[in-house]
């Protein structure tokens, strides 16, 4: 019963529509941060903006190109979520540790 359900022909999975939608969204999400930086934006808000757009674009690629996140892809999603956790610890942790190290290694001012 489950196997017959898997070979239903008319499913929209991985179809043309998904790739076209994904490509258009990805194009917009690529051009926006480039336009932002090339127009001379800077500062914390601009950095937060381009990082936010990058995260959105990664999600767009995951959903429309890799078709991740559907209820029938539990193990791929599980592996992915675990990877995100490790990447977060690795990148965030490195940055945190090095920032504090840098701070503590600052030349002392004269008393």
């Amino acid at each position: 019963m489950n196997v017959s359900a898997t070979i239903r022909p008319a499913e929209p999975r991985g179809g043309l529509q998904s790739y076209v939608t994904g490509a258009l969204l990805a194009l917009a999400l690529t051009l926006a941060p480039f336009a932002l930086v090339m127009s001379g934006a800077s500062g914390t808000n601009a950095v937060a903006g381009i990082f936010g757009l990058a995260v959105i674009q990664i999600v767009v690629h995951m959903v429309f190109f890799l078709h991740l996140g559907r209820s029938d892809q539990r193990w791929n999603l599980t592996a992915f979520v675990f990877t995100v956790l490790i990447v977060g610890i690795l990148v965030g942790g490195s940055y945190w540790v090095m920032y504090h190290l840098d701070h503590n290694m600052m030349p002392m001012t004269m008393e």
Partner: protein
Amino acid sequence: MTSELLTVETVRPWIPPPSPQIMPAEQSEHRSGAVTTVLGFWVYLMSDCLLFAALFATYSVLGREFAGGPTSKELFDLPYVLAETLCLLASSFTYGMVMVALKAGDRGRVLGFLLLTFVLGLGFIGLEVKEFVRMIGEGAGPDRSAFLSAFFTLVGTHGLHVTGGLVWMAVMLVQASLRRFDAVLPIRLTCLSLFWHFLDIIWIGVFTVVYLAGAMS
């Protein structure tokens, strides 16, 4: 029954619909083999993700240590990077078209889009190599500063992956033109599609963290 359901369901959207001439028993055997292969390849990609995470972490720590040499703002040419980015994004889309054609069983379109993807990927690598040659010519090689060491390691590792993907794609072009569209070819093309889309996702991180943030500082 439950485990069968779990594994078959897991990567179902990536497996092309079976061709009608394959017998049902043979078919389900092929499908569960395909599911294991594709899930295994996905796990490899996740471990590759950790490799890149380490390189990104290194870059984010060293990315401002210019050692009196050229800064990221002086070196990066954003319109050029945008051209690279669009090449890779377009190739990701054309590889999607390979998968659509594969599901339709259209060999001509599979080969056509595979070739187009290959050319776009080659264009990306060509642009990247040209950029590296220019930078090294300007005295901004990987030995100049910690920033440049981290830059060449991160961007170069991505470039090597793309080059590896191109070699794989060349092999698939030959196989797709010679082999019949049996159970094996779709699995290989599906794994390459995961690899290719994955590299495009890594590139989003590269152009944001390295080029855009670097050009702003």
